[in-house]
């Protein structure tokens, strides 16, 4: 029989309240009915109860302290726990079939199935909490994929890999990057929600990229090879002769790669003709004398 003070984890000078609290805490932890399937719980609880029975009684405690009785003097009669019925073979119709003589063998099988299986008490494990973050990223980050670093409130940093083609509001799960687990339990997960910030000139529609590109009057009238931005860097595009504001060019496969199909979208270029911003006297002089082959009224449809 162990020393009852040791069993309850209290000092010999402990007040009644401390003994009571220590017992309550341990009883919650080890009461066999609260831990069916845990074979150790019953033996531990028996020790705890016996220690409590002795120490909660001032007379018995005095006699124990004085060495008049030993710890076993307070031992309880064997009682049958509720779990012996609710969890026992007499209650379980399956217990004797299939060569499994008792629940213990079934527990063993379960333990194999769940690797490690039933854990002993005092070895409490729990998974850590999940945490949520929002991560603002640029359009080019999701267009091309990127690695971002989040700095957590506790100073820790988290590397987040933005997959190519990720969508706005897409949730990324970083396994095991949440709060740490308890008692060796696994850490929780970190969930990172991607917020794609608007780009200065690229606009995303599904897998396609739309961009408005200014061209000069001369480029539009006569046609030209011009350099245009794409999400993968500048490329040369052909402006056909006689282009206008609103003319759309398509650059095949210059859009965003679809995460599922692997197919790239396209880039659509919306041309916008801009007039010279500086004085062009020759152009002005030419227009003064210019007689259009066809009279044009672009506001025709707007007026009665």
């Amino acid at each position: 029989m162990k020393d009852p003070y040791e069993t309850l984890g209290v000092k010999r000078s402990a007040a009644d309240k401390e003994i009571k609290d220590a017992f309550k805490k341990l009883a919650r932890q080890f009461h066999p009915d609260l831990h069916p399937g845990d074979k150790e719980a019953e033996a531990k609880f028996k020790d705890i109860s016996a220690a409590n029975d002795l120490l909660k009684d001032p007379e018995k405690r005095r006699r124990f302290d004085a060495g008049e009785i030993d710890a076993s003097g307070a031992e309880r009669p064997q009682e049958r726990y509720y779990r012996d019925f609710a969890d026992g073979p007499s209650y379980a119709p399956h217990a004797t079939q299939d060569g499994f003589a008792n629940n213990e063998e079934l527990e063993e099988f379960l333990a194999r199935a769940f690797r490690g299986g039933a854990r002993s008490r005092g070895d409490f494990q729990a998974r850590g909490q999940d945490v949520n973050y929002e991560l603002p990223v640029g359009l080019l980050d999701v267009a091309n994929g990127a690695t971002k670093t989040i700095t957590l409130p506790d100073g820790k940093t988290l590397q987040v890999t933005i997959p190519e083609g990720a969508e706005d509001r897409q949730m990324l799960r970083l396994k095991g990057q949440g709060m740490p687990g308890f008692g060796g339990g696994p850490a929780g997960d970190a969930y990172v929600e991607i917020h794609v910030e608007p780009h200065a000139f690229f606009q995303r529609k599904d897998d396609n990229i739309h961009v408005e590109v200014p061209v000069t009057l001369k480029e539009a009238m006569l046609g030209a090879q011009i350099e245009v931005p794409t999400i993968g860097g500048p490329v040369v595009a052909t402006v056909p002769k006689g282009s206008n504001t609103g003319t759309t060019l398509r650059l095949r496969d210059r859009g965003i790669r679809n995460r599922k199909t692997g197919q790239r979208g396209h880039q659509y270029i919306n041309l916008k003709v801009v007039l010279p911003t500086t004085e062009e006297p020759e152009l002005a002089a030419f227009l003064e004398t210019w007689q259009p082959k066809t009279q044009q009224n672009p506001r025709k449809e707007m007026l009665p």
Binding site: K24, A86, H94, L110, F114, R115
Partner: protein
């Protein structure tokens, strides 16, 4: 089989008013025969458990039904799990191995 008086005698902490209330609330359900209540061994053990929860762990009267309901669910789930395990154990080795392998894949990391 025990009567209320036997229980009161066997469990020194148990109060008559309490066990009557627990019976009224259906926390323990003894059979009634000729105006006398009979407790099976299992029901006696359940009364002991309720006594421990209430008198020693100081779980309050209002909270007791919740705790017991959760415990009942735990035992019920264990029964089902053990039945399921027994059913798996009755299969031949290749089926058992396949189930264990599937648990490895989908089970706890």
């Amino acid at each position: 089989m025990m009567h209320v008086d036997d229980l009161l005698a066997a469990i020194s902490t148990l109060q008559r008013g309490d066990i009557e209330a627990w019976i009224r609330e259906g926390l323990v359900t003894p059979q009634q025969e000729a105006g006398t209540l009979h407790f099976t061994d299992m029901q006696c053990a359940r009364v002991r458990l309720i006594c421990t929860l209430h008198y020693e762990l100081e779980i309050e009267t209002e909270t007791l039904p919740t705790v017991l309901s959760l415990l009942d669910q735990l035992y019920d789930t264990r029964q089902r799990l053990l039945s399921l395990t027994a059913a798996v154990a009755a299969q031949d080795k290749t089926v058992q191995a396949a189930i264990l392998a599937a648990l490895e894949i989908n089970g706890p990391a």
